[in-house]
Homo-oligomer: 336 residues x 2
DNA sequence: CTACGCTTTTGCAGCGCTGCAAAACAGCAT
DNA sequence: ATGCTGTTTTGCAGCGCTGCAAAAGCGTAG
């Protein structure tokens, strides 16, 4: 290839990779040849030689869930800025699929590390990952020291959401999204925050107003809301464990002829774009997605680059309460 | 590696790849060794040797647009079933970014072909792609013979959408989403369908009711609707060029105290999940996304596998009109 | 027993790059 | 000149696989 323009292939490599100790003269000469031939290094060969792939995998349960697709975007951007490509995988929350990814991951030389949002695996199954696979977990788990974990403080956020509803003077506050089983750790943290909000003002949450759902999507929200409305003493406010659940719940409320928030106030979680434009728009807990993505990528690359695995880090990303119409009612608003 | 269990590395390769002409005896022997050592072939090395990457790229303007994230899912699944991985890239509709992808694409040995949904490039710029890069275009372009194109019949679909509104007896039907410039071909096809619907019944579309928008998202819809409502003779029905536009428009309508569909009927395009759960739910044109994704992947792999580029194919995927509350009103409905 | 054709297995080269260590060069002091 | 140090360039091997063609094995026919 470009040796035809003067030097050894090794020197070309040096120039292309910007290594030190190349005279200006040769650098210029090589660069001219590179331009002329339109030469681009073969990534595959480089990776093979270096024993790395230059790719990281992002493994999430669902891609059509707005929260994940918004996150995906930021992850891709952050990775690209650092010279990495992103491979996507969707697990559908299938435990076997998820396990396969982290179990013999290091054998799959397709990626150098994984950013993983588990759904079907509980904390135990998670601990059983390939120790050589650089791993960053997103969501509501806890690091056992062999991987990094990035997420917001779910208990605090949920407590804050619930307090917002109580502050409105609502007395029958429900929660939709609990998952009282091993893989439902995320949900349970939110339920804990929900209870804490009551406890903090000397109240107790009504157990029949805590509804479990298999997933966190619209349909679950709609179904749970229907169930709640059929209770003898239906709620006057609902904390939904995701914005999709909230949208589903609101859909049911409106269909039943109830007003949001006058009859029932609704708060969601995730701050997806849909929630900002729905009717009514949805009050929500907004995690700093940009920071979550960037931190996850940075930690992962650090792990990949480190010869001995660094200790597992717990990163708490910030969140904030975004108040919209579903709790505050229609405000005198500027035109869109 | 596995030779330790009897045979040459070449034979292992033969077994692993399921080549013919391996005796049952050796096949079994090798497979046992493979299991024992947990051996997995090195994808990088294989790819280098074969001069391919085993990956395809999916290049879309926005990943957080539900239409694309829903499509993405299907593409990933279709590719995986055929042994390919998917690399994702988001262009933000930036023409330079888009050009870079298809111009010297074949140099980037990272992927063997591209499924591309252009936004910033017009038909001319598109024609200027690297002829060696297997390429499948999605959306509303036309194949120039050097790539395949998969999409629905936008003119027919738009006409059908508009006719639906006219069938309701609406007389002041607006359109939101036109883009009267080179890169707006997609939008222009929809405007054509819009006009044809009028023409078919001897009417003419009111020009002041055709609104241009820079993009197809909620904000554009909300803004355009505001503009329309401020007209002396505001519309009583709106054809929106995407469901997001429709959601934005509906948001404005409700905020202005108007009823959908009683005062203004709204129809969207794309059939994203949000539209099915919004208040009111959105009538829409539903393209067969699953088929679009599968066809795109299949055509691309065919191109990749073919020594001489096959002629460019035009594929028309089916679509259908899905009637929901935003035109039909609230129906007596079964509980969710 | 040899020859022939067919199936199965093997060896070698090479994909295009980088790690490593040696070689060439340059500048300076002796 | 010679030796020494530090900088720049080079050659070789090898990452782990597959393409190719030759080699070995095997069964049947002559």
């Amino acid at each position: 290839m470009a040796e035809l323009a003067g030097v050894s292939s090794r020197t070309v490599s040096n120039v292309v990779n910007g290594y030190a100790n190349v005279t200006e003269r040769t650098r210029v000469r090589v660069q001219k040849a590179v331009e002329e031939l339109g030469y681009r290094p073969n990534v595959l060969a480089r990776n093979l030689a270096q024993g790395r792939s230059g790719q990281i995998a992002l493994v999430v349960p669902y891609l059509d869930t707005p929260y994940f697709s918004e996150l995906l975007q930021s992850v891709i951007r952050a990775a690209r800025e650092r010279g990495y490509n992103v491979l996507i995988d969707q697990t559908d929350g299938d435990a076997e699929h998820e396990r396969a990814f982290i179990a013999h991951g290091s054998r799959r030389l397709l990626f150098d590390g994984v950013i993983f949002s588990p759904l079907g695996l509980d904390q135990n199954a998670l601990a059983d990952h390939d120790p050589n696979l650089p791993l960053v977990i997103l969501g509501e788990r806890t690091s056992d020291g062999t991987f990094d974990h990035v997420g917001i403080d779910d208990v605090a956020a949920s407590r804050q959401a619930t307090e917002h509803l109580l502050d409105l003077g609502r007395t029958r506050v429900a929660a939709i999204g609990d998952q009282p089983y091993a893989t439902g750790e995320a949900a349970q943290l939110r339920t804990r925050g929900f209870r804490e909000a009551f406890a903090a003002r000397g109240l107790t949450a009504r157990e029949d107003l805590i509804i479990s759902t298999p997933r966190f999507n619209r349909l679950d929200g709609a179904r749970a809301m229907t169930h709640l409305l059929d209770l003898p003493e239906p709620p006057d406010a609902v904390f939904c464990y995701s914005d999709l659940v909230a949208l589903g719940a609101i859909h049911t409320l409106i269909a039943r002829g109830l007003r949001v928030p006058e009859d029932v106030a609704v708060i969601g979680y995730d701050d997806i774009e849909d929630g900002a434009y729905s009717n009514p728009s949805v009050t929500t807990i907004s995690p700093d997605k940009e920071m979550i993505a960037t931190t996850a990528v940075e930690r992962l690359l650090l792990r990949i680059g480190s010869p001995t695995p660094p200790p597992g880090l717990e990163v708490r990303a910030p969140h904030r309460l975004v108040i919209r119409e579903s709790t505050a009612g229609r405000q005198p608003r500027t035109r869109p």
